[in-house]
């Protein structure tokens, strides 16, 4: 992997961020709205709920972590969509750029934007609603890593779908986190789901993160073995997503899709 070529993809995105406030604003704005909305909901639930149970870490913490996954995915897909919108595939892929380098560049830009979003969420959740993750320290790292890897896997899969089906399929990509969320138990234990849904839940890495979060909120130690399983699944998902994207890219090279990529020419 050539670092200069990976840096080129990151640099392109930095230039776009620098010259365009409308690209930067969504990194902060939507996460801030989400935190405020759910923060006030949890505050209300604390007032009307049973005493002794704190909704803030249970619900607001879950929203914060789920938003992080969503932002990672969107960071990857947004960087990819820049090439879709500017019809830039021919220019990029006629250079020595490898798919692994292109994907690494997309992931790094996803890291940059999602980390910024995460910082905004952490500061807002702490400043307005008193939810602090500082006490968890490094124990939070495996939780974030599982979500981070899952977000990358979803982002790369989304990019592969759009490369294969064309720009018009963008609308299929944005709701992916919403489609996944009922299965991973962001707001409730997966044990309340029907058996067939639980089966799907057990294959999804974020399930183990939210299960772990609820254990911590309930005062139990984090279930490290379950988090390790989630991490292993997430690594597997990233590998599968990269294989999927590479397969689509090879198809695109075989059929000429890369050279004539547009909404009109892709069926």
């Amino acid at each position: 992997m050539n670092p200069s070529r990976v840096a080129a993809i990151v640099l392109r995105q930095l230039y776009l961020f620098r010259g365009s406030p409308q690209r930067v604003l969504p990194i902060f704005a939507w996460v801030a709205v989400d935190i405020l909305l759910w923060g006030f909901i949890t505050r209300y639930l604390n007032q009307v709920g049973r005493p002794g149970f704190d909704f803030v870490p249970a619900l607001l913490g879950a929203v914060l972590l789920w938003d992080f996954l969503t932002r990672v995915m969107q960071g990857v897909t947004m960087a990819f969509f820049e090439d879709v919108w500017s019809r830039n595939f021919l220019n990029f892929f006629a250079t020595p750029l490898r798919t692994s380098e292109y994907l690494a560049g997309l992931v790094l830009t996803g890291v940059m934007s999602s980390v910024l979003g995460l910082l905004v969420m952490l500061v807002l959740a702490w400043a307005v609603f008193g939810l602090s993750f500082a006490g968890y320290g490094l124990a939070l790292a495996p939780f974030l890593m599982v979500l981070f890897l899952t977000g990358i896997a979803l982002g790369i899969t989304g990019a592969g779908i759009v490369l294969r089906l064309g720009p018009a399929s963008e609308w299929l990509i944005w709701p992916i986190p919403t489609l996944v969320s009922p299965f991973v138990g962001v707001f409730y234990p997966v044990t309340i789901l029907p058996a067939w849904m639980q089966l799907i839940s057990s294959a999804l890495p974020p399930t183990y993160v939210f299960e772990g979060l609820r254990a911590v909120v309930a005062g139990r130690p984090p279930p490290w073995d379950r988090l390790a399983l989630g991490l292993a699944l997430a690594v597997g998902f990233v590998t599968l997503a990269c294989l999927f994207f590479t397969g689509v890219y090879r198809y695109a090279i075989r059929t000429g899709l890369i050279a004539r990529y547009s909404a009109e020419t892709v069926s």
Partner: protein, 251 residues
């Protein structure tokens, strides 16, 4: 293995089929160091398909392509470090400035002393005053000059130019033709040049390939080829070749 004395581009019996359509049908040719080869033919002849295969963005159905002695199918990334291209149908991202585009593509080609190289190219292609302008707001002629500057970033051994002077005024086009001719002669690189402008082909190319329905029908020196085939000019020869019956002689 790199072969300094061998051809810079070697295309051997390359075919590309899209279902039943044979877009390129057994094309073989080479480009030697210091040579500009013209690839001409009517619309749909297979010129762009051939160039896309050489650029590695379209896989041939059969055949072999070597750039500077490197097999494109086996070492795609390494082979593409030796080439670059400019095409009217592939404008650079319009949401980046002229300088940003050159910087991003310079990194993709891992160009050494990139800032210095960019300054030279901005001056050569008369783009200094547009360096902070978004590529999307440039006129089509300025965008073409930017594409050419990008194509020269890595001092390619093989230059692929698909109608490089389309949308450029005659004076700038003449300068660009002269510049590329000098570069090819001095730098021991080779160029494959497609154009519908037969005057340009005759002025610039050392050799011309007439492509029609995916096959090379004629090949030779653009200055002597028309007379050899009973045509008054390259333009007339083009028209005659464009009206050739399909393969096998069917009407």
């Amino acid at each position: 293995m790199t072969s300094p004395s061998g051809p810079i581009l070697s295309v051997e019996n390359v075919r590309k089929a899209f279902g039943a359509l044979r877009a390129v049908d057994g094309v073989s040719f080479h480009v030697a160091p210091g040579e500009i080869v013209g690839l001409v033919g009517p619309n749909g002849a297979g010129k762009t398909t051939t160039i896309n295969m050489i650029l590695g963005v379209l896989a041939p159905t059969a055949g072999r392509i070597e750039i500077d002695g490197i097999d494109l199918a086996l070492q795609r990334s390494r082979a593409l470090t030796r080439t670059n291209f400019a095409a009217v149908y592939a404008p650079l991202p319009g949401n980046l400035t002229v300088e940003q585009n050159l910087r991003v593509f310079g990194r993709l080609y891992a160009v050494e002393r990139l800032s210095e190289r960019i300054e030279t190219l901005l001056a050569t292609y008369d783009l200094v005053r547009y360096r902070k302008a978004k590529a999307g707001v440039l006129s089509s002629g300025e965008q073409t000059r930017l594409s050419l500057a990008k194509a020269m970033l890595n001092r390619p051994r093989l230059l692929l130019l698909d109608e490089p002077t389309a949308s450029i005024d005659p004076s700038s086009a003449r300068d660009i033709r002269a510049g590329i001719s000098d570069l090819v002669e001095a730098g021991h690189c080779g160029a494959l040049w497609t154009s519908h402008n037969m005057y340009e082909v005759e002025a610039v190319c050392d050799r011309v390939l007439f492509l029609s329905r995916g096959r090379i029908l004629l090949e030779g020196d653009p200055k002597t080829l028309p007379a050899q085939h009973g045509a008054a000019s390259l333009d007339d020869l083009f028209v005659a070749v464009a009206h050739e019956p399909p393969h096998g002689g069917e009407a």
